[in-house]
């Protein structure tokens, strides 16, 4: 089927795969989902596998680590013998969710229209007929209380996944997320764990209006006790979904409205990504560009222009918004000495602001220039198309910022 990538500069951004991490391996044969055995691998972002994580270790060197659909490879092999299977991001999320529900009967989903309707972004399509109405629960429009309900269920050992139809709606549940979800493990002295996953689409979409285009990462980042991750590709969406469900801590998984129809080829084998690791998208020498979620694609588009102009940017998708992966980021800063942060969050008190402070504190000596942070504007997202474009960071601004920094 035709690749549908909305609003991110199409295949051009993804086809610069020759400059991607080239540790790429091929599986000898395709295996269907049902044939996979129970073992899984913990994959690090640079392709190495954590030793001992796979009891059948011989498969470690046969894993595709960065399976982005690439034109360069397509000419070399025919589609039939290519490893892995292609799917869209929301299908990857669904696959991860389904595998976890199959594996552990305590995993359940709650949200508005997740059951019979199949999810407003089709992430839970087909799950309710398979697992029943109690396990894939259609809730009334009562965010505060169904989030509280999921947290109460988690206290007894269930592992609910709360879907906010839009992350903005979860503001209604802020009390439950902050006070009960984040704090109960601490205030009970460790007696209760809250293994919930709170997920939903957020970010600026296509003229959806101010209240449906909120960037909420900054609101939740200070809550002690929760972890936050943001997915950006089908590969990391599935891996992060599985990791979040298996984690004993409450995890907020930020998806983006415009990324749901991204297509990518992902491995057939089961894989789980680490929740606290950043992803090296494009290694480089001149400047470190830190980004996450949709802005990754704007950055990669700008990277194409920058490469033509002779710059060599290193692009890192930080993925883990809380806690930051300061190890990967730090090593990059030590190499390039310049940092540009490109995010969709608001300027005031956003993820970029926290990241700037963290990098300044830890790596001040390695910086040759002040850290520049490009964030979206501190305004409610306007409806008009042109105004909405100017609310978020555009590739041209990224190119200009890099040129300025690298002077």
């Amino acid at each position: 089927m035709a690749t549908i990538i909305q609003g991110i500069g199409a295949a051009a951004a993804l086809s610069s795969s020759n400059s991607f991490d080239s540790k790429r391996f091929h599986l000898p044969s395709r295996r269907s989902l049902s044939e996979r055995k129970g073992s899984f691998l913990v994959v690090r972002s640079d392709g190495r596998v954590i030793p001992g994580s796979n009891p059948r270790g011989r498969r470690t060197d046969q894993l595709i680590t960065n399976a982005v659909a690439a034109k360069a490879d397509a000419s070399a092999a025919s589609t039939a013998s290519k490893p892995g299977h292609e799917l869209l991001l929301f299908e990857a999320l669904r696959e991860g969710l389904e595998e976890e529900m199959e594996r552990d009967p305590r995993v359940c989903v709650m949200g508005e229209d997740v059951g019979h309707y199949g999810g407003s972004y089709k992430v839970t399509k087909g799950l309710a007929p398979k697992y029943g109405d109690l396990r894939v629960l259609d809730t009334p429009i009562a965010e505060n209380s169904f989030t509280g309900m999921a947290i109460g269920a988690a206290m007894t050992g269930l592992r609910p996944i709360i879907e906010g139809m839009n992350m903005g709606f979860l503001l209604l549940a802020f009390n439950q997320i902050s006070n009960n979800c984040g704090m109960l493990h601490y205030t009970s002295g460790g007696q209760f764990t809250i293994p919930v996953v709170i997920r939903g689409p957020g970010g600026v979409g296509r003229q959806l209006g101010a209240e449906h285009s909120q960037r909420l990462e900054s609101y939740f980042q200070s809550i002690p006790g929760i972890q936050m991750v943001a997915c950006s590709t089908p590969y990391n969406a599935k891996g992060l979904m599985k990791a979040a469900i298996r984690s004993e801590n409450p995890v907020i998984l930020f998806e983006h409205v415009l990324l749901y129809n991204l297509k990518e080829r992902i491995p057939d084998e089961e894989y789980v990504l680490s929740l606290e690791e950043a992803e090296m998208v494009r290694p480089g020498e001149h400047i470190t560009i830190l980004t996450y979620s949709r802005m990754r694609y704007h950055v990669m588009q700008a990277a194409k222009t920058l490469v033509n102009k002779g710059y060599d940017p290193e692009v890192i998708d930080i993925r883990s918004l809380k806690p930051f992966d300061l190890y990967t980021i730090g090593n990059s800063v030590k190499k390039t000495h310049r940092v540009l942060i490109v995010e969709e969050c608001m300027r005031t008190g956003g993820i970029g602001a926290s990241l700037t402070a963290a990098i300044s504190e830890n790596f001040h000596d390695y910086l040759d220039a002040p850290i520049v942070c490009l964030s979206s504007q501190d305004v409610p997202t306007p409806y008009a198309g042109t105004l909405e474009e100017w609310t978020v960071v555009q590739p041209a601004q990224i190119v200009a910022a890099v040129e300025q920094l690298c002077q």
Binding site: P140, S145, T147, G152, N179, S188, E248
Partner: protein
């Protein structure tokens, strides 16, 4: 067994005529415990139950001497604990907020008697006595109140965050109203695992006006969750009387499509009867609301004198006429299960027990500085809080 007749001249004053039985129940009691749980004592609750959309349970309750004495024992202990907490607060050993439960003990004790430890209870911040009822010890309670390591939450929770996982006690919550959806979740998990247990979600007359309560009622009724919503109506939401905060103070009717029952919360046996009825109802038909008509002698918390919004006459009036411990004492005396002196001696024993627990709790050390960072996250799959060099984040305190 001859049935007793209760002559109640008014709904407020209770004259309990002694039971005439063939057996004489006079026996020496040294430690106020009785193993006699075969004799059945029968009497009526103080007032009949008022119901909404359901048939109320019978007014006649049955009990055994063992249970009667255990009620007295538990309530006297709870009463003594709360009074001791009062003095500790004034001595500045307990800081912050301390919400005392004295006057409301009948609700905790009656509820415990009707259920098992597999059923769940969740409440807001007035949780000391319910914690005790669920199996918590005095030492854990006092140590937690004083912020020591030996506390039930290792000193990190405080008065408003008592929990006991093994006892099915889920807290202990500071933001009132938020615990009700949590209670809904506990009931959901019980329905999910099909284990035939119920959840009691307690809240007060003040929190009864929270929106999330109605959301929770809707969901519980929609999915037939075994949730029992218990409104502990002590008539004051901190300083605001119920008639000033609620258009309809008939909290048991607030559920509309959910049945409700109004119970005299100062009568432990009425509470027990109602909770038993509610458990059977919830397992068969889904949620039910219980309104416990009760009263607190102390103010809202230790920072509130409790007399600016109600008269001292009112407080002492309730203490004279409806005190739950007194009611049980009168029942014991009238059924001749113990003498006046024995009960007084027992109360002295309780006082000693509480004092010992306080002394032991005072010896418990303060938590280590490293405990500041424990239990923020659970260590395990996919979780470490990494610093710049991949080691765990450590903070060095001065």
């Amino acid at each position: 067994m001859a049935l007793s007749r209760i002559a109640s001249s008014s709904s407020r004053s209770h004259l309990i005529k002694p039971l005439t039985t063939a057996l004489s129940l006079r026996r020496p009691i040294s430690s106020l415990s009785s193993t006699d749980d075969t004799t059945t004592l029968t009497f009526e609750t103080s007032v009949p139950f008022t119901s909404h959309r359901c048939d109320p349970p019978s007014r006649t309750v049955e009990t055994t001497p063992k249970e009667l004495l255990s009620f007295f024992r538990d309530m006297a202990l709870m009463r003594r604990m709360e009074i001791a907490a009062d003095s500790l607060y004034k001595a500045k050993l307990i800081r912050g907020f301390c919400h005392l439960y004295d006057g409301q003990e009948a609700v905790a004790v009656g509820m415990e008697a009707a259920i098992t430890k597999k059923d769940c209870i969740i409440t807001a911040y007035r949780d000391h006595c319910i914690f005790l009822g669920r199996g918590g010890t005095l030492l854990e309670a006092f140590a937690e109140l004083m912020g020591r390591k030996g506390g039930c939450s290792k000193g990190k929770g405080g008065s408003m965050h008592f929990y006991k996982k093994e006892g099915g006690f889920y807290g202990g919550h500071g933001i009132v109203g938020a615990q009700v959806p949590l209670g809904c979740g506990l009931a959901f998990a019980q329905k999910y695992s099909k284990d035939e247990n119920v959840t009691f979600a307690l809240y007060g007359d003040g929190a009864a006006n929270q929106g999330q309560l109605f959301e929770a009622l809707n969901m519980a009724a929609l999915w037939d969750l075994p949730a029992i919503f218990v409104c502990e109506n002590n008539h004051y939401g901190m300083g605001t009387a119920e008639w000033r905060a609620a258009k309809s103070p008939a909290y048991y009717k607030r559920g509309d499509y959910v049945p409700g029952l109004k119970v005299d919360g100062m009568d432990a046996f009425a509470v027990k009867q109602a909770c038993k009825f509610a458990k059977e109802h919830a397992l068969k038909n889904g949620p039910i609301i219980l309104e416990m008509d009760t009263y607190r002698y102390h103010g809202h918390s230790m920072s509130d004198p409790g007399s600016t919004y109600r008269s001292r006459d009112e407080i002492s009036g309730v203490r004279q006429e409806r005190d739950p411990v007194e009611r049980i004492r009168k029942l014991i005396l009238s059924h001749e299960l113990a003498t006046e002196k024995e009960l007084k001696d027992f109360e002295k024993e309780v006082r000693k027990e509480v004092d010992e627990a306080i002394a032991k709790a005072k010896e418990s050390p303060m938590p280590d500085p490293s405990e500041l960072f424990t239990n923020v996250y659970v260590k395990g799959f996919g979780v470490e809080a990494y610093g710049a060099d991949r080691k765990e984040v450590r903070a060095v305190l001065p």
